[in-house]
């Protein structure tokens, strides 16, 4: 990371402290591990994106003409598995969370740095197994692994299940580390009510990771046992109940949706506050809301199963609980909006993404109300309506929040500024491309086009063409940041320690930070987001 153009001799930081491959692969520095994760998940993001593009191209015409039916099934399966387990779940927690949580609470590292490294290695082992599975043809179960399809028919199930099992442990260890870190590593004065909302969000996420992931792990193990040994567990031919699998699977996989979105909410809270120069409106409610989402999120899993053959009364209970979890999400949207009121708003790239996030998350959330309504769910579940809904949350919400965060903290991570013009341009392209891709899918869904269809009825074509067109625009939008962020690492303007004038602790240390983040353990005497009396001047920072 040489910086030839630097006017002053560079201060030692986490990037230039040591060089060489070993200093990276054996590092226990949370910031370096975050970068290892950044590289790995970016790789998988483009793999998953490539699959998505192939899917969209196949759906350009009603006939199945680009790829074979089997190939298509493998494409959407691998797209789901790669994007969910290898990109979305680790995206914000393992990259931004890893980098920032210790800094934001004034700690020198996570509580268990070696466990943190182990977690990345587990991710990589899972990744290697997943790549092997992909190269040997890929699984074709759908990312949901529904039995008995997965235990009797599909191919490559064991590899995919094993890889997700392993990567699940990586996720558990990250969560465990965050929980203990937030509890035990806070700097003096950093009380719970002074924690930035990004930390709250990662803490809530960690709770879900720790409590949910093991259930997925055992479920996949049981699927593997059933497949290998023909041990009857879920297969009705062996006396089992396939709905038991769905209960166990969604017990994790619904909360997993919140693993994916909560950290994104944290990112947006930071950004909206910073670029409005205002304390987040209703801080306490915002913090409570993320915890409420984490807890209530566990109570709603069977809303994925309203037509699966569960009892009517169970359906009623789960529908009701699903509406409860919508409340804290609504609270968050209202509070972000209110934060802008009477602010001093600048339209920097991260803020543009944040605007996009609030809008798209609102739409994703509102369509969730459609799906939680039992009578309507019957018609739209397992159609493109669902596909559109969760892409509004996962892509319109999480990916956009992730990009927002990467831009916001890029000066801190790399010590360089990215080119603002290109940043704004990419944000706009992504916003347009995203909506063009996924909005038509809502309409398709209500018209009745089922998901996971390789060929479809001709009357669905116009909307599918629109969607594919949007996907190509979206692809351009994703490639742009990749290019200019790489460019900026060498040619970008040198960033000072606080280019945005933000107030978090992470902005009170150098950019990039030193190995232990702070020269002196900070003592916190101010509330979070105190833009009225920015605490900057009070903290001694060694020059």
């Amino acid at each position: 990371m040489a910086a030839i153009a630097a006017p002053i001799p560079e201060r030692e930081n986490y990037l230039n402290k040591e060089y060489g491959i070993k200093s990276w692969l054996l590092t226990t520095d949370h910031k370096r591990i975050a970068l290892l994760y950044l590289l790995s998940i970016t790789f998988f993001f483009f793999i998953g994106g490539f699959f998505a593009l192939l899917i969209r191209l196949e759906l350009l015409t009603p006939a199945g003409d680009l790829v074979q039916a089997d190939t298509y099934n493998k494409l959407f399966t691998m797209h789901g598995q790669v994007m969910v387990f290898f990109f979305l779940i680790p995206a914000v927690p393992a990259v931004l969370g890893n980098f920032l949580v210790p800094m934001m609470i004034g700690a020198r590292d996570l509580a268990f740095p070696r466990v943190n490294l182990l977690s990345w290695y587990l991710y990589m082992i899972g990744a290697v197994i997943m790549l092997y599975t992909i190269l040997t043809g890929g699984a074709d179960t759908g990312w949901t692994f529904y039995t008995p399809l997965s235990t009797q028919f599909a191919t490559n199930v064991i590899g995919a299940a094993l890889s997700i099992f392993v990567v699940g442990f990586s996720s558990i260890l990250t969560g465990l580390n965050f929980i203990v870190t937030v509890h035990r590593m806070r700097a003096p004065g950093m009380t719970w009510s002074r924690l930035p909302l990004f930390v709250w969000a990662n803490y809530a996420t960690a709770i879900i990771q720790v409590l949910g992931t093991p259930v997925l792990a055992i479920t996949l193990m049981l699927v593997a046992l059933e497949r290998i040994f023909k041990l009857g567990i879920f297969d009705p031919r062996l006396g089992g109940d396939p709905l038991l699998f769905q209960h166990l699977f969604w017990f994790y996989s619904h909360p997993a949706v919140y693993i994916m979105i909560l950290p994104g909410m944290g990112v947006v809270s930071e950004i909206v506050s910073c670029f409005s120069r205002k304390r987040v409106f209703g801080y306490k409610f915002m913090a409570l809301a993320v915890i409420a989402i984490a807890v209530l999120g566990f109570l709603v899993w069977a809303h994925h199963m309203f037509v699966a053959g569960i009892s009517l009364y169970a359906g009623m209970v789960f529908s009701f609980l699903s509406y409860l979890v919508a409340i804290p999400s609504a609270i968050k949207v209202f509070n972000w909006t209110a934060t802008m009121y009477k602010g001093s708003i600048s339209y920097s790239t991260p803020m543009l993404y944040a605007f996009g996030f609030i809008g798209l998350f609102t739409m994703g959330g509102l369509t969730g109300l459609f799906l939680a309504a039992l009578g309507l769910n019957v018609h739209v579940t397992d159609t493109y309506f669902v596909v559109a809904h969760f892409h509004y949350i996962m892509v319109g919400g999480m990916v956009i929040a992730y990009l927002a965060g990467i831009h916001f903290w890029w000066p801190k991570i790399s010590g360089r500024m990215y080119p603002e013009f290109w940043g704004k341009l990419a944000a706009m392209i992504i916003f347009v491309g995203f909506n063009l891709t996924f909005f038509p899918q809502f309409v398709l869904g209500y018209m009745g086009m089922p998901r996971r269809y390789w060929q479809y009825s001709p009357e669905f074509q116009i909307l599918n063409v629109l969607s594919t067109a949007g996907a190509t625009i979206l692809a351009v939008g994703y490639l742009l940041p990749m290019l200019y962020l790489l460019w900026s690492m060498r040619y970008g303007k040198i960033a000072d320690e606080n280019p945005w004038g933000a107030v978090g602790l992470e902005w009170m240390t150098t950019s990039p930070p030193t190995t232990y983040n702070f020269d002196e353990t900070p003592v916190v005497t101010w509330e979070a987001y105190d833009y009225e009396h920015p605490p900057l001047r009070e903290v001694p920072v060694e020059r």
């Binding site: 509890h183 209960h247 017990f251 566990f298 109570l299 569960i310 009892s311 169970a314 209970v317 789960f318």
Partner: protein
Amino acid sequence: MAHQVVSSKTYVGIWAALICLTVLTAAASRIELGPFNIVLALLIATAKASLVVLIFMGVKYISQKMTVVVLVAGLFWLGVLLVLGFTDYASRTLN
């Protein structure tokens, strides 16, 4: 250190209690109580588990209140899985 060293007498006493409860549950399973067999067995198991958690694992003596919260949270979530999952099976009919 935040730790209180527990006397060996306590440990041995708890161990004896655990053995007694094991014998008790084994004996109780030989008596016909209808559906209450399993209820009794689970009650005894819970009693044993509580002894292990409180004394052997030291939750009773621990200074960190957080540990208790963590433990209770784990059990709560297990309860959520069991209870909410069971609502489906308990109320299933072929409409």
